[in-house]
């Protein structure tokens, strides 16, 4: 009986060590891995865009951006098509008009491609998780129909006929056939930081605030405008 107790205790210790090992290893890897940042940089042709900066449309109208926010998820680093690292975060919120809120941290490992989902997948939309970037206080959750706004673009335009010339595009939805999330791929090079250009002018070359001042619920229009928003990421 004594022997059993002694052996039993040994087994408890062995199991405890095995259970703790992955955490210890992860922490060790975490401590030893160096990181670099990837920064989303909104551009109007070649000019960096700032909040409320006057931007000239091709037809002579002007607009000012007040909000340019979107979710990114399933962040993946690849080397020649092979997955080298995959983020386990459910989603990160990029506030592109505020540099301090528009970067993501990536491990500094050999890679030549960054791939991610613009928006959140349906599982995250239905998870009931409202922690961190998913907190509704960020203004990216539709409580009236339980879903996240994947892409939010707001501002004013002289040509917009809405009240106070304000345009509002709240693009989201996870139910088929109007789901609004898609994977984009960015070629990257080694270095301490990565700049990811966001070609805002491309979106407004396809979506005119004069023609369509607001879209604020999931559906056909939101899906169409979301496809236009994806063009911001094209190299």
């Amino acid at each position: 009986m004594k022997k059993f107790h002694r052996n039993g205790l040994h087994w408890v210790m062995v199991i405890a060590l095995i259970a703790a090992a992955p955490k210890w290893w992860n922490q060790r890897v975490h401590q030893e891995t160096s990181y670099r940042t990837a920064q989303f940089r909104p551009l109007w042709v070649v000019q960096p865009v700032k909040e409320n900066m006057e931007l000239q449309l091709l037809n002579g109208d002007t607009l000012k951006l007040e909000q340019l926010k979107f979710y990114v998820s399933h962040m993946t680093l690849l080397l020649n098509g092979k997955v080298m690292w995959r983020s386990d975060e459910e989603g990160q919120l990029i506030d592109a008009l505020h540099p301090e809120k528009s970067s993501i941290r990536l491990p500094a490992i050999p890679c030549n491609e960054l791939r991610f989902l613009v928006g959140l997948d349906s599982a995250t939309n239905c998870s009931g998780n409202f922690n961190g970037a998913l907190d509704p206080v960020h203004g990216m959750f539709w409580s009236w129909q339980s879903g996240f706004i994947h892409f939010k673009i707001e501002g004013t335009s002289t040509a917009c006929t809405e009240r106070n010339n304000r345009f509002q595009y709240h693009l989201g939805g996870y139910r088929k056939p109007y789901e609004t999330s898609d994977t984009v791929s960015i070629p990257i090079t080694s270095g301490e930081s990565i700049g990811i250009p966001l070609h805002v002018d491309r979106y407004f070359s396809l979506c005119s605030p004069a023609q369509q001042g607001h879209v604020m619920s999931p559906g056909k229009n939101a899906k169409e405008l979301f496809q236009h928003a994806l063009k911001m990421f094209a190299p």
């Binding site: 409202f130 998913l134 009236w144 339980s146």
Partner: protein, 344 residues
């Protein structure tokens, strides 16, 4: 000796870890497996208690005038019998009847039109709806942070005083998950403790023949969305699930409600148009409005003689669960927390 202390110590630590999970979640044996993921979010006594206080506290509304319980009264099976449509802040009237709340761990989607895809998300809909509580999560967090009691309760529940939207909705969900109704006469008959009367028994047969496909036992709902042939309301113009999905096939589809405690949860239907069960039966036996999305179960007319309708209602009354309705654990908390409401 040292080994004995070690074993006792380990036992205490293990027991402490499970202390709060004991006796809170007691699912009825005859119910199916719940949909809610208790592994991800285990029930604790502290969170349930906090959720109950929040549920009954008008602090969740913009002007601290109404709480969740204002429209979900325990004495009406957590529905609202005073109004056909929900009665919100500033005497505003909503567009839907407040549904009864019970057995929520077995539901995947919430609201009459599939608007909420998770119990955690559900609470945010009435809180932020301008016709209902008209409040924003950031304001609620600010108000709760001013309360020493709430800061303490959040610390007890989550380990620190940090108040977030997630913690608020998780606590509200935890309380609502404890609202289990499974002790009606029907349940006692099913496990052999009681017997139906002849009238109830005949009503049960009629129920199984005409109603049980959608109001599936033992939850008395299949948790699906159907067009039950209600003529459209010309003022509300409510398209139901279509409003959310924009799919034509979802036009006029509404959630099938549970029939448990139906005696207490009147008025009936998504817009509260029927005040009595006999009016409901009148609809199903002679008021069906035909449209392309009408439920297949209602394509053929349902014929019920007056005495059969009486028998069917007698059966439906066996779904009343007085122990649920008058359970003090579900009722308003005895706390001074709500009065006087501090003003901003």
């Amino acid at each position: 000796m040292n080994r004995t202390f070690l074993i006792i110590g380990l036992t205490i630590i293990l027991c402490a870890g499970f202390r709060n999970a004991v006796n809170i979640w007691n699912p009825p044996a005859h119910f199916p497996a719940p949909v809610y993921d208790f592994k991800k979010e285990p029930l604790t006594a502290e969170k349930v208690h906090l959720g109950k206080l929040l549920f009954y506290d008008p602090i969740l509304s913009r002007d601290r005038s109404i709480s969740c319980a204002s429209c979900h009264s325990p004495f009406n099976a957590f529905a609202h019998t005073d109004h056909d449509l929900s009665h919100g802040i500033d005497d505003r009237i909503g567009t839907r009847n407040a549904p009864a709340l019970m057995n929520l761990a077995w539901q995947r989607e919430f609201m009459w039109d599939v608007a909420s895809n998770h119990l955690h998300a559900q609470a945010l809909a009435p809180i932020t709806n301008p016709q209902e509580m008209d409040e924003q999560p950031e304001n609620i967090i600010r108000k709760l942070n001013r309360s020493a009691l709430y800061r303490q309760l959040f610390e007890l529940s989550f380990g620190d005083t940090f108040i977030t939207t997630s913690r608020i909705v998780v606590s509200l969900a935890q309380f609502q998950l404890t609202l289990i109704s499974a002790d009606s006469k029907y349940d006692r008959v099913m496990d052999g403790r009681e017997q139906f009367t002849a009238q109830e028994n005949n009503g049960y047969k009629l129920f199984r023949q005409h109603c049980a496909t959608c109001h599936r036992e033992p939850l008395f709902t299949n948790s699906e969305f159907h067009n039950n042939g209600l003529p459209g309301d010309p003022i509300l113009k409510d398209a139901g699930k279509y409003t959310i999905t924009q799919r034509p096939s979802d036009s006029l589809l509404f959630k099938v409600p549970t029939l448990r405690n139906v005696e207490y949860s009147y008025p009936y239907m998504h817009d509260g148009r029927f005040k009595t069960l006999y009016q409901v039966l009148g609809h199903y036996t002679g008021g069906i409005s035909r449209s392309t999305t009408l439920a297949k179960e209602l394509q053929q007319p349902i014929v019920l003689k007056p005495n059969e309708q009486t028998d069917l209602v007698a059966f439906l009354l066996t779904l009343s669960d007085r122990n649920f309705i008058f359970n003090p654990q579900h009722g308003p908390p005895r706390s001074k927390i709500f009065s006087p409401p501090p003003k901003d």
